[in-house]
């Protein structure tokens, strides 16, 4: 009979089939390559097989392209007054429906002869104001709710999170429509309402991160040393929760831009004559046969912006390692 021997050959942890490897490399954004090789890595490579270098470089290029595009968008929105742009509401009827590049209009004109480029720049300004206001409200309020819920736990967490869950389960656009219909369509109310609706998602992100961070050694150590709750909350947790929340904010900016676009599309966003990207697309829809550029160009601009926000947000988020599944 074989004796029931404890496998204690040489390594203190015999089941850990890994040669020594630098921990930093293991923690790097492994992506798929490491996952794919998983079967073997348990035995062979210490899971050190990461993405090859070339795609990482390509990722970098996309990252900077996305950042560049966002910079251009923000710049034109902020300095639209100073830039050599035509008045967005000035009509030159005889130049109506000019194609891009025609008659000196870089992006053409709309059905009453307004310069599309300057309408895009000024419309972007409104879209961005709404997006930033909403995201700031959402991240501050939602972040605070999530942070405290994750820190204090107990009945407080249970009540707060059940509200959050219900609000999240509700179709956001439906709530948005209902709220906007009743509180009016000024720039301020729309920003506030969208910001209010962003709170639950932020609360989720902040709570999940707080829960994860609370388990880390330095927080446990601070607790063990008898640090005050407020100290742990502000000195230990807040800085660590803030980063993922900011990264989520970029994705949230994209979501808000789309939500506002939807609202504008239904004619319920900021009132005439202020235009946003969404209302430009909605207006262009009626001229899709004659001048498809009227709807397509704002669509592309919005799409590129949302795509860039998603991309940059995604890249940042993978660095802060908030698992989506943990939300």
């Amino acid at each position: 009979m074989a004796r029931p021997v404890q496998p204690d050959v040489a390594d203190p942890s015999p089941d850990d089939d890994r040669p020594p490897t630098e921990p930093t490399e293991l923690a790097a954004p492994a992506g798929v390559a490491a996952a794919e090789i998983g079967i073997a890595s348990g035995a062979a490579g210490g899971a050190a097989i990461l993405m090859p270098d070339a795609p990482r470089k390509k990722r970098r290029i996309f990252y900077f392209l996305a950042l560049g595009w966002l910079a251009v968008v923000v710049f034109t929105a902020v300095f639209a007054d100073v830039l050599p742009l035509a008045d967005p509401n000035f009509q030159v009827i005889r130049d109506r429906l000019a194609a891009p590049g025609e008659k000196g209009y870089i992006l053409g004109t709309d059905n009453i002869g307004r310069d599309l480029l300057s309408r895009l720049a000024f419309g972007g300004r409104v879209s961005l104001i709404i997006a930033f206001t909403a995201v700031i409200i959402g991240s501050l309020v939602g972040g605070a709710i999530g942070l405290t819920a994750g820190f204090f736990r107990g009945w407080y967490e249970r009540i707060v999170m059940s509200f959050v869950d219900v609000l999240l389960a509700f179709p956001a656009l439906v709530l948005l429509l209902a709220l906007v219909a009743f509180v009016g369509q000024s720039l301020r109310t729309i920003s506030l309402v969208i910001g209010f609706l962003a709170i639950p998602a932020y609360a989720r992100v902040a709570r999940a991160t707080t829960l994860a961070v609370s388990q880390r050694e330095y927080v446990l150590a601070a607790r063990a040393l008898g640090a005050k709750s407020s100290r742990i909350l502000f000195r230990e947790l807040l800085p660590n929760v803030a980063l993922p929340v900011v990264a989520f904010g970029l994705v949230a900016l994209g979501l808000v831009i789309v939500a506002e676009g939807g609202l504008a599309f239904l004619g319920l966003s900021v009132e005439f004559p202020t235009s946003t990207w969404g209302s430009l697309i909605a207006a262009g829809k009626n001229w899709v046969r004659e001048s498809p550029h009227l709807a397509l160009i704002p669509s592309v601009v919005m799409l590129l912006t949302v795509l860039s926000l998603n991309y940059v947000g995604d890249t940042l988020r993978s660095r802060f390692d908030v698992r989506e599944s943990a939300l």
């Binding site: 798929v32 390559a33 996952a35 794919e36 998983g38 079967i39 059940s162 509200f163 869950d165 219900v166 609000l167 999240l168 389960a169 509700f170 179709p171 956001a172 656009l173 439906v174 709530l175 429509l177 209902a178 709220l179 219909a181 009743f182 509180v183 994209g254 789309v258 676009g261 939807g262 599309f265 239904l266 319920l268 969404g278 697309i281 909605a282 829809k285 899709v288 046969r289 498809p292 709807a295 397509l296 669509s299 919005m302 799409l303 949302v306 795509l307 998603n310 991309y311 599944s325």
Partner: protein
């Protein structure tokens, strides 16, 4: 047993949803009484109507009254047409339902093979193409998608009628032709979400020992992928499908408006434009309950898919 226990957890959620919906209308200036009193309201009439409707009672009492009505199927009547709210919803529901189901089916039929393929071929050009395209699609708002589809397939190619609706019962062929573009524009976003999610989960599953074991049995590749790997990989997909019901309804509002389809979304939008608050309240409540129930149903399907849950034990990652 498990079902019963889960049903109990549903109660507070439903109450919360209905309360929020009630607040939505109740807290707004200008209540039903002012609406019903007509264009030239007299203080007296308004007060009379208020008393009649119980609007002078405290908020919680009013809510309980209202909840009692709703529970018996009385959602109230439209301020404008005097049509019962439930009837108005019932008229419009089939269209939205058809759109939503078609969109979900489109998305699942495409995303399951794409996600599986992408995971199986992880890090090859095929996978990279699928991942990149789906990442791009995530950024496309559904009204832009609708616009693109309309422009390409209805305006340029003329394959589908651009707008309008025919009831399924009236003409099946025409109904289908008219529902393809709206359903597609609704499904693209879902498609991207499902594909990416399934790919991630599937890649994790493919590293499991039991997949290597299935391979060592000499089973054909498709069998390993679809019988052994797909089911354990589909849990987050299922959760997301539940959560996406809300997104689908929200998207339906836009798509129905875009393609001029008389569904629930259009009803909501019209009643908002006409300030028909009681219909708005009814529709929002209906949508809220639908999403809650959809998530509940997903919870139940979970236990069918994962035998470990059925026994009440906790699921391990």
């Amino acid at each position: 047993m498990v079902v019963l226990r889960k049903l109990l957890t549903l109660v507070p959620t439903v109450l919360l949803v209905s309360f929020l919906t009630y607040l939505l209308v109740d807290l707004l200036p200008g209540d039903a009484a002012t609406q019903l009193a007509g264009n030239d309201p007299q203080e007296e009439t308004i007060r009379a109507i208020r008393e009649d409707l119980g609007l002078d009672k405290p908020l919680l009492i009013r809510y309980v009254y209202w909840l009692g009505d709703v529970a018996t199927g009385d959602f109230g009547r439209s301020y404008r047409t005097n049509q019962p709210v439930l009837e108005a919803i019932g008229e419009r529901l089939p269209i939205t339902l058809q759109l939503g189901l078609m969109a979900m089916l489109f998305a699942l039929f495409l995303s399951i093979p794409l996600g599986v393929l992408s995971a199986f071929k992880a890090n090859t050009p095929i996978d990279k193409t699928i991942t990149t395209v789906s990442f791009g699609l995530l950024a496309v708002p559904n009204f832009v998608m609708a616009l693109l589809l309309l422009y390409v397939f209805a305006v340029e190619l003329g394959w589908f009628p651009p707008v309008g609706w025919t009831r399924l019962t009236a003409d099946v062929g025409d109904n289908l032709r008219r529902s393809v573009l709206p359903a597609l524009s609704l499904s693209i976003g879902q498609l991207a979400v499902y594909t990416r999610l399934l790919r991630t989960d599937m890649i994790a599953t493919l590293q499991e020992d039991f997949v290597a074991m299935a391979k060592a049995k000499g089973l054909p590749t498709w069998r390993i992928l679809f019988t052994h790997a797909l089911r354990p990989s589909s849990f987050s997909l299922l959760t997301i499908i539940g959560l996406q019901v809300g997104g689908l309804i929200g998207g339906a509002v836009i798509v129905e408006q875009f393609f001029a389809l008389p569904g629930i979304g259009r009803l909501l939008l019209e009643s908002i434009q006409q300030r028909d608050l009681i219909i708005v309240q009814g529709v929002v409540l209906f949508i809220g309950l639908t999403t809650v129930l959809a998530n509940f149903a997903v919870d139940l399907v979970y236990s069918v898919l994962d035998p470990r849950i059925r026994r009440g034990s906790t699921r391990t990652a």
